[in-house]
Subunit: 331 residues, 6 copies
């Protein structure tokens, strides 16, 4: 286990300890952290986006934030491999959920954007629990309007389809096409890992390739191995500001059955953990874990996986925040 970075003052918000209050007890917040509705008091805001209105297949991701909160009680304070202590490196808190409109997609896209714009303006970096993958679009609108981001994207699907249901432009299959069209996401600094699943048409992936997205399909993923995938991902995103988007359907469905569009044959949670750890040192500016759908998750494992991946991202994000602070930059 590596040496931890020097700790910050004890005044940063800390999770409730499981040896004091049992893990199954008390009101479930993300990582058992205090609720902090004022984003100016946070470096990293943990936010729920309980919405599945963009889902073309099985719904239920609206229940994701609550169950991820519930299972995140299993997370402790220190990363067992990197030794990162996120709560010593950054002020982290549960910033609550966006008050979405479950019956109106357009209204919700605006509500999510406004909510995250406020967080962004307050100087906090967002780490979100979805919700379906369309929620990443308004998040990017809030944080990448003035400077497009790169992205490390874990998923079974490219989510760059153009439209559904007769020209409809906004679903959880289209966010990154929109984000690229709107100049929020830099396709040349975007890497997609785990893509698979059968196709509607032979040219489904062509648009993504044309934009310059680096697509690591699942076959190439297995052929390269985790270490070289990490290397390639780091090469693609480089030094610029980078967003991490983790769709749990990138995992094999045995690890995450509770999701809207499961695709057999994905990567494992341990591999995902290694990849996320491999992002340490990048200029990370936000992240999300999406598509956890508790109604399809009888064992609760998908929510546990979602919470664990959120903790993994939190560690490298807190590290990035601390580096920027050490360098005199904004979080």
């Amino acid at each position: 286990m590596a040496e931890p970075r020097a700790s910050q003052p004890e005044t940063f918000p800390q999770p409730v300890e499981g040896t004091v209050m049992p893990r199954f007890a008390d009101i479930p917040t993300f990582m058992r952290l205090p609720v902090q509705r004022d984003a100016t008091q946070l470096d990293i805001a943990l936010i729920g986006v309980p919405w599945d209105g963009g889902t073309t297949n099985r719904p239920g991701a609206r229940h994701g934030p609550r169950e991820i909160r519930n299972m995140s009680s299993m997370m402790r304070k220190i990363h067992p491999v990197s030794a990162i202590q996120p709560y010593s490196l950054a002020r982290v808190g549960d910033h609550g959920d966006v008050p979405v409109n479950p019956a109106d997609l357009t209204d919700t896209l605006e509500r999510v954007e406004r909510f995250f714009a406020r967080v962004h303006a307050a100087g906090a970096v967002p780490l979100s629990a979805g919700g379906d993958h369309l929620v990443t679009l308004p998040i990017m609108r809030a944080i990448a309007r003035h400077r497009p981001v790169g992205m490390v994207h874990f998923d079974a699907h490219s989510d760059t389809w153009d439209s559904y249901f007769g020209g409809f432009k906004y679903t959880h299959g289209t966010p990154f096409r929109r984000a690229i069209e709107e100049g929020l996401l830099d396709p040349k600094r975007t890497v997609q890992i785990g893509i698979r699943g059968s196709l509607y048409h032979a040219d489904d992936m062509d648009w993504a390739y044309e934009q310059g997205i680096r697509v690591i399909g699942i076959e190439e993923y297995f052929d390269l191995g985790v270490a070289r995938v990490i290397e390639e991902a780091r090469r693609v995103v480089g030094d610029g500001p980078t967003y991490v988007s983790f769709d749990v359907d990138g995992l094999d469905p045995v690890y995450a059955p509770g999701t809207g569009t499961p695709e057999v044959g994905g990567f494992s949670t341990h591999e995902a953990q290694r990849m996320l750890r491999g992002l340490q040192g990048l200029d990370l500016v936000g992240g999300d874990v999406v598509e956890v759908s508790p109604p399809f998750d009888p064992s609760g494992n998908t929510a546990l996986v979602g919470a664990t991946m959120m903790f993994e991202i939190l560690c490298v994000l807190a590290d990035a925040v601390a580096r920027r602070r050490d360098a005199g930059e904004a979080p």
Copy 2:
């Protein structure tokens, strides 16, 4: 068991028999009937509306039609109490699902309306499996534009709220307010049975009372007893054209846990069966069973209940169709 009405020719579509092809076998259609995409060949069209975009709480009703089809294999051909043989009285078939847009409420309301307008124009009476309760609104737009209908409405909620989420007018909590405002539903010929559930504001129910809806709250329901509730429902709707809308959350949640907004303390399935049988002889012009949400239904009982209630409505509806035919009227 009463004497059955005289049978129609054997040329009417018939369900596959369970003693020939086992009930669990073959492609599941409603009641094991043939698929019939041409509504002109039907007197009663069984239609799925797989949509939950109006749901303010737990989603999943989009999966209702498939599971109701699946469980409807348990229905046989003859009603055990009324002795009605629906497939001898009317041409009944599985007319498929409406091609909804899961990501756009407005588009879907129009699609549902168009679909049912075609069915209506073809001379078939619709019996639908939802979907959330908002789907009843476009169905009424399709069949009641020129002549408002009365309604026997089983539900835990009045569904006459005005708006949600800051003025939003269309959710599964508002269809009947809209239907009354649009002149599709005659409030004075509307009876709501089983209403309960806590309230947002003291005046939540006032609008319904003012329109003249006869609300039989659950306490009055239990005090009256089933026989007098039937009597009262028949009195309210009278001789006019009447729609039957059965929201499974009117039942106690032990009978229908798989639903979006369960409310403890409802009526039983046997009571519901008696009430639906009690509608025989009314001028029924359509019906639906809504809010079956399979992801919240681990035992599958909600879907079985949904299929059974659909069969109950089918029997009294086929009887009404046959009466009108005997009287020389359109189905």
Copy 3:
């Protein structure tokens, strides 16, 4: 609570007490009784018939005996209403399962008959946990060859259909037609309670009526009320030897979702308990609880209900055994 009958010597087999060994612990036997493979040591033999080869719809009843054993750990020693202490009145033990052949119906019918014939010859009265309802046929062949029995039969279905699948005579829908044809069951001393469920043909029930079976359909059941149903059942079976057959699908499926052919709208467990208690004093010569299918029982309640009904029957059966012994008759 009534006064208990005088107890027998402490030498009768006794269940393991829950205040000594916790209920969830140790090897699960019926009612936590000792295993006794020698039927001559028993007055009442508790027997599993783990077989569902006669099931025309959903299988799984083969797993019934194990789960009923598991849940029967919740039963204690004394009936809370009748105060019957079955283990003081009779020697009761877990006699194990019949070694059925899951892939051959004919072979299994013979195996079950042989097994129960041995029990019968040993002087023990059988109380069985099914298994699908066809298992009652070979049990009757074993115990009623020389003297037809009457029957109190709880069920949603009459189980007197003639054949399935092109003339096939043996399924769980036909046992009582066969038993009457074979002279094992006296139709005039047979009462069926709870019959409902839609019909294949208008004359489905005619054969039963013609034999003189007293069918109390669910509508008549609710109209009569429990007390008068008990009275009527006692009247029908009279003083002669009587078998009790309890198909859990007689209950409403909310009480017993884990069953092969659920039919909405049945009686409740409390009503069933009252009816079974109402059989005290009859000349009971055997019983069974059938159609518990654990794979369709996510909450486990069906198995608990099965175990409870078995305990209810055990109490009145032990009482009958003790009465016969007091009268100098065989158990």
Copy 4:
């Protein structure tokens, strides 16, 4: 619907409205109320006791408070029958969970007592979500040391056994024997409703009878009917301070499968609601809902029932608090 009592100032804590923030969203607190860790700011403190160390059978009640919180999001603000508006009558808040010790019973009894003693000293009335039924003992130690309480007790079991496992005095089967021995509970002002379940020994209930507890076993319950049971309960507890303890296993297990010791044949949720409403006007000084065990509750209905019963108790408790305040007494 009756006229509501005059409202209090808007300054009382209010739940988050479901038409503003969807019911499935944000951090789940009891009834969506604010968290208030300072009991002096509350008239009624909603408290979780996440502990099942006294459970002799199936565990899991430690997870009860979280799931009850989760499901309590379905409760709105106004009672649909009594029209009580609890949040206008009293200051109500989520006071968090007791920091129990899952591995030490004695330590936990002390922790629970200390926690509730602080609440009591602060002048707040406790309404708790268990936890197993043993938690009621330390609650009574905290609030009834100086003045014994009467009790309306809903349960399948009397919970007045003396000891388990070789003389062990503290389990969820013994709390009321201890409470009576310690002078906390007045047996002559105690009524137990729904008692059933088989017995270990013929004299199991004798101690309870000798103390003068009024036991309404389930048979008497059904024979009396709800209205007369309410009358009898009110007669027994009279004008004195009264505690309401609701064990969900008093309900039939179809309503509450997720519990430690289910007993077939109980009352329904609607009946329970009527009984709880029937307590309005009594001098209520606290209450609890216990034995909700989410791991045995695949449909989630038990937690929904638990939350609903908690809301029912809250309404009559808030009414009692307001009456005392109107009379110039402490809450």
Copy 5:
């Protein structure tokens, strides 16, 4: 992604597109293809065999075809790795289920054989969804009477036991012993992959070895790795006509918990996908996916896996059909 083979006319049957009719909607057929009851209109007939009468352990495979149909809605039109477009290469349709007899094994073996013989005579290649593994025997009787087939067989068990339950010859543990004895299956062109599970007797596998079957036990499988297993399988079956039989219990049970005889420690779905893709170019003449048992599959993943494996086989089978057509042979 490789170049796809030249497409056939658009007149071939095509699946309903998920961007037009949502995936969860409408009547579920295999792969959302049209129902085609006339086998002469098909090159590849997708057939359900809803039967589990040969199951020696946990039943439920009779429900496999429906749930596989349901989950097959998640399959799109083009293989993401091989780029095969099966619906351009062959006429594929849902040919319905065999009308089995759930209560008679012998009768069912004959029914299945007759059904497939008709399909075979019509010139269509069968791809089936079981059902338990015994169904492969009558399928082989229908298609391999005149020319024995080789087989690539994925399974945890060799299924070459001789008999069960005292000499009983037909169960899901014996089909390939019978098929070899009857000259339908060429053991020297048979490879079994994934065999494991403890043994009854030390010589359980000897018969298989003596016939010349190439058994790749799970240890050898892991030692060889997927690429060399594919190579070896291709070597064994060579150029002759070859059947693919995929028992989902070959997979580790985490991928396929819903099966009759799970054996811990199998291969993964991704490995299975690679192996199935590795069969491209063989002279494939039929295939099946068996032992999907939905009642033991709470998350639904087993059915999804079954549908995905069926799609994988369909792709290589369509390719074989097209090659034969290109070569002027029968499909």
Copy 6:
């Protein structure tokens, strides 16, 4: 497959064969072996310890022994890889459960110790099914008082924390700290495999390292590979008496969701099988499989895994017993 060791006389207890009595039938004992309550008749005693009173997080392991018994019916007689025939090498039987006290930790520790001390004195080697991991402590007190044991320990957690909940010394997180302090476990002959999970404090693992425990964290585990992990484990424990403790949470939670403290990212069941087989030849003196919690195991796979791991340990343990007997030593 290797040659089996020479068999012992047929007089050793044998499991019931699945081809005689179906696997799902009869009373479930461990491995379908006879119940043997007299330990002097056994070389290896299979024992349940149905207790979860040391669990700090999710309970339910008290139900582990029954479900492991249930699923162990799937085990046959001969190991498919090592060809070990355990029932020919040793007298093995189901020795029942320890009569624990679910409500008192101290009392239970004493009861477990007494029970195992009797087994040890009788000359039998224990192989246990837990129960939570604290049960290993009293087992070691029973068998290692006079001679400390080494241990091969599979787990996600080191279980060497000092205390919980304010100084409480006995939970399932502390057994090996206590065992080392008490001189029962030799830390220098202890290897822990699979350790991971986030930490409370940076020095959480220091005590373990200081004692000389060889900790193979999950990262080192994956880097080394199974073969070298086996080698290292054998090196650490050497020739001395060695205990095998298998906590199912060492596995990835997809293999064992039914456990108290799941940690994402563990090893697979196949890897576990290889590691356990790799222990053949060590001087094994006991073992356990712990932390199987059926209430969190909807698919039943965790119990199947538990039973399989128990069979794997049984094979190497029987081999060790036979070797010692061959060498003239006690079992």
